[in-house]
């Protein structure tokens, strides 16, 4: 195994034993980036020089005998909607193409303090709006498992980078499934934590009441380690919850005897790809094999989650994105041959030229939903539905420890396959969206393959039930290590790639 293929905890162990240096790990990852980035295209900005500097610094500290945490010296990528001081933060939009923030997101500061080596900024759907990373204003990121397929979205660059070994782990953001769905498409672990567990300060807002930051990792233990580093109260975010944060690795177990697992029938009905259904049902059976008590249940308001989300998220987005007006920073439209636009024209041209079609569509939807005369019919009604969805979850969690479903109704799809029809694209997030509306945590982990493409199992828990999620996911992962499969990119030996995956999808180890 090459270093770039290892997990953070494996690399940390080797660092601890002085078998390798942080610089060597960093070199391995950047060599991998140079080798495969032209196929995957995950990065908007690569920060190689700063990464080496940080790695050497960590090595120096180690030589001086300073204790280093489990993430020290480990290369990590950041979705390009996390503000990074001195490093441009584009949100994959023309609007912020040259925006260099004078501050870093709290999660970035926390990881930096934990010794993380940042590799760069990862491609995404523009302002995190999309499910395929096709709405990026710059370029499309490809799925490392099949370069003709999308990596999912909107954290598609982050998921692809981790799956392809271009980062050991990454941070993404999840507003309606943007961590879990690409994690599912790229065959890695993705966690959307409880709303308020991780500070949103410095995350460029899409829909503030739904956005949450979380890790994309190669296995469940890494997921717990990264969550340890980023969770906790932040005085800069009044929605972040005060209180102590547990050590999430303490939940990792292989025994889930007696854990009650609910399987809502509404998540296995119409629209679910038969191949995905089969794989996910096998995964549910596996949980039962491991001693969990699995039972079918009902989520009566499931069908309303999607329309509810597509009112609330665009409403908040229309307001959050109003600040991009060309007045103070970012893109400003200028007339051809000198001349001046008046204020209104400058606003309109800037926003017409600076935003892509999906962002404009959602701004218009949100503006409409909030406007007087429509507020009660749309926004207010959506808020009421949101309450009903929360109540559905509350009822389920009175009965079950976790609830499981497919992460996405389909395997990774081909470029352009859904891009022409927004409504079809929106269905990609049908199973992940209820979680954001309720503010609860959910995790996606690899649970098999359909025609060589990864499938994810979504596990949901009550608020602050991350420990339970990690426990169930870890037990599953130990018994069915699909996470060990690696996609085969050009020039790689077959046994590390697809053939291995095929074998695993038949259930063997």
């Amino acid at each position: 195994m090459e270093l770039f293929q290892l997990t953070a905890h494996e690399l940390a162990e080797m660092l601890k034993k002085n078998e390798i240096s942080a610089e060597e790990i960093t070199r391995s990852v950047f060599e991998r980036i140079h080798a495969v980035e032209d196929q995957v295209r995950a990065y908007v900005t690569v920060t190689e020089e700063a990464a080496y500097q940080k790695a050497r610094g960590i090595d120096g500290e180690k030589r001086e005998g300073k204790g280093a945490g489990p993430l020290a010296g480990i290369p990590a990528g950041l979705k390009d909607n996390f503000c990074t001081r001195g490093v441009r933060t584009t949100c994959s939009s023309r609007m912020l193409e040259n925006f260099v923030p004078p501050y870093s997101a709290t999660v970035v500061e926390k990881l930096a303090a934990a010794g993380a080596v940042f590799t760069g900024k990862l491609n995404m759907d523009e302002f995190a709006m999309g499910s395929s990373t096709e709405t990026s204003a710059f370029f499309q990121t490809r799925n490392p498992w099949n370069l003709d397929c999308v990596p999912g979205g909107s954290s598609g660059g982050a998921a692809a980078a981790v799956a392809a070994g271009e980062a050991v782990y990454a941070l993404g953001s999840d507003t309606g499934g943007s961590i879990r769905q690409p994690a599912s498409f790229c065959g890695i672990v993705g966690l959307k934590p409880t709303y308020g567990l991780v500070s949103r300060f410095g995350l460029v807002a899409f829909a503030s009441s739904l956005d949450q930051i979380g890790p994309l990792t190669k296995d469940v233990r890494d997921c717990a380690l990264v969550l340890n580093a980023i969770a906790g109260h932040d005085p800069l975010d009044s929605t972040s919850v005060p209180g102590p944060v547990p050590d999430y690795t303490s939940y990792l177990a292989s025994d889930i005897k007696g854990v009650k697992v609910g399987v809502p029938r509404e998540f296995f009905g119409e629209g679910l790809d038969p191949g995905v259904k089969e794989v996910v049902q096998a995964a549910v059976n596996q949980l039962a094999q491991l001693g969990a008590v699995v039972e079918e249940c009902s989520f009566p308001h499931a069908e309303y989650a999607l329309p509810c989300y597509y009112i609330i998220a665009p409403a908040e987005a229309s307001s959050n994105l109003a600040r991009y007006d060309g007045v103070r920073y970012g893109f400003r439209a200028t007339p051809e041959k000198g001349g001046n636009y008046d204020l209104l024209e400058m606003y309109m041209r800037t926003r017409s030229e600076g935003f892509g079609p999906e962002v404009k569509r959602r701004i218009m939807l949100g503006t409409y939903a909030l406007s007087s005369g429509y507020y009660d019919a749309y926004y207010l009604k959506a808020l009421k539905l949101r309450t009903l969805i929360k109540q559905d979850f509350n009822r389920l969690f009175d009965q079950f420890d976790v609830v499981v479903s497919p992460t996405s109704p389909t395997p990774p799809f081909r470029f352009g396959e859904k891009a022409g029809n927004p409504l079809v694209m929106y269905l990609s997030d049908v199973y992940t969206i209820p979680v954001n509306l309720a503010g609860i945590p959910a995790l996606s982990l690899p649970c098999g393959f359909v025609e060589g493409l990864p499938v994810g199992l979504q596990i949901m828990a009550p608020a602050f039930g991350e420990g339970t999620l990690l426990k169930v996911a870890h037990a599953f992962e130990q018994s069915k290590p699909y996470h060990l499969a690696r996609p085969r990119l050009k020039g790689e030996a077959a046994e590390k790639g697809l053939a291995h995956a095929r074998e695993m999808s038949r259930g063997g180890k």
Binding site: C91, P101, L203, E316, S319
Partner: protein
Amino acid sequence: MPEYEAVIGLEVHVELRTRSKAFCNCPNVFGSEPNTNVCPICLGLPGVLPVLNQAVLEYAVRTGLALNCEIASFSKFDRKNYFYPDLPKNYQISQYDLPLCRNGYLDLEVNGVRRRIGITRVHMEEDAGKLIHGEGEKADYSLVDTNRSGVPLLEIVTEPDLRSPEEARAFLEKLKAILQYIDVSDCKMEEGSLRCDANISVRPSGTDILNPKTEIKNMNSFRAVYRALGAEMERQCAIWGAGDRVVRETRAWNEAEGTTVAMRTKEEASDYRYFPDPDLVPIVIGRDFVVRIREELPELPEARRQRFIKEYGLPSYDAGVLTSSRPLADFYEACVSAYRDPKTVSNWVMGEFLRLLKVFDLEVTETRLTPSHLVEMLELLKEGTISGKIAKAVFEEMFQTGKRAREIIEAKGLIQISDEEELGRVVDEVLAAHPGVVTDYRNGKEKALAFLVGQVMKATRGKANPQTVNRIIKEKIQ
């Protein structure tokens, strides 16, 4: 023609004088270089989040209680969405359907008529920045100063209970006094820390018709509010009198012309798309918090006025003037505590002190004259060291220079001459110089005495004790 009365409601914006801004740690000060008191949060840069300054909440509750409002136990912030270059996020954090304070009132007394003016609501919001427009022919630019962005504001909205421009002005004066008493704002209209818009309609006196109203903006002093409302009232009366209808619109006060003028009418009604701000958690206020703030409230102007009447035996008028501002009332009480003649102190504070403040355009807190200055001077006056006439001159010099009374009178030799021997010599000289006048007096011409006293005063440059001089002359002539 019927007699008309006005129906006036006010919307007052008050900048709170907290140390830092509403949602970040930037200093909340006036008059800094443009764009120096700013950070990513008050600039609304991508990704940053507002966090409520607890002092804003405390000031707002204090204000609500002083205005007899109910304090909501559950309140929240909303976003008011509109595009404007001085509004960094293109939405303003404000409060919409659940304001912090509601249903208050303020009692007014104008021309002997006592009336209760309803306060509809008091809510918190952030201020916007300021545009500085280019001047001159080629100045097709505007500059943005964001120092004011995020400064905490209270919006105070009254019921349309005011019936005349006089009442509107009296209300504002009273409101200002209260806000200063509770120390939440400096209320400087010229610095924009107190701003007022007025809604006004007119109707035949005594009816309860609701006619179309106009909203008047751009008034930057209490006098301007008074004049603008008067001018607008007159305009509306003339329209109704001529059988026409007043149009509902926004008008601006033109100070120079003394008239209100229609502002550009908006093409369409504004739609602010209010919705709860998801970045700020709802405000839940416990009873303990409200009780604590209520207990900490200082004595308010009305209560203090009553106390001045009772405790110092002042006339109602004096008590009203002295308690109209907290610094003035504090000044008065500091003097009285050391010189226990309340009416004399009141005469000096209301007379010379207020006169000089006006002449030099100063606030009570900006003068160099302290209560101990006045007390020392009053003592010198009482013991006869200086005359009342000289006292006025001394007071003015103390006011201007900050010197002590004793220092001034010593330097200028102004000490009153009461020494009978010395005065006797001067009287002898005067009598010798004016034998004709002496004769007149002896012949019963009373006025002659005043002339002789005047001559003595002149010879002593006003330092002679007039009573003593009077007596000595009479003794010498008889």
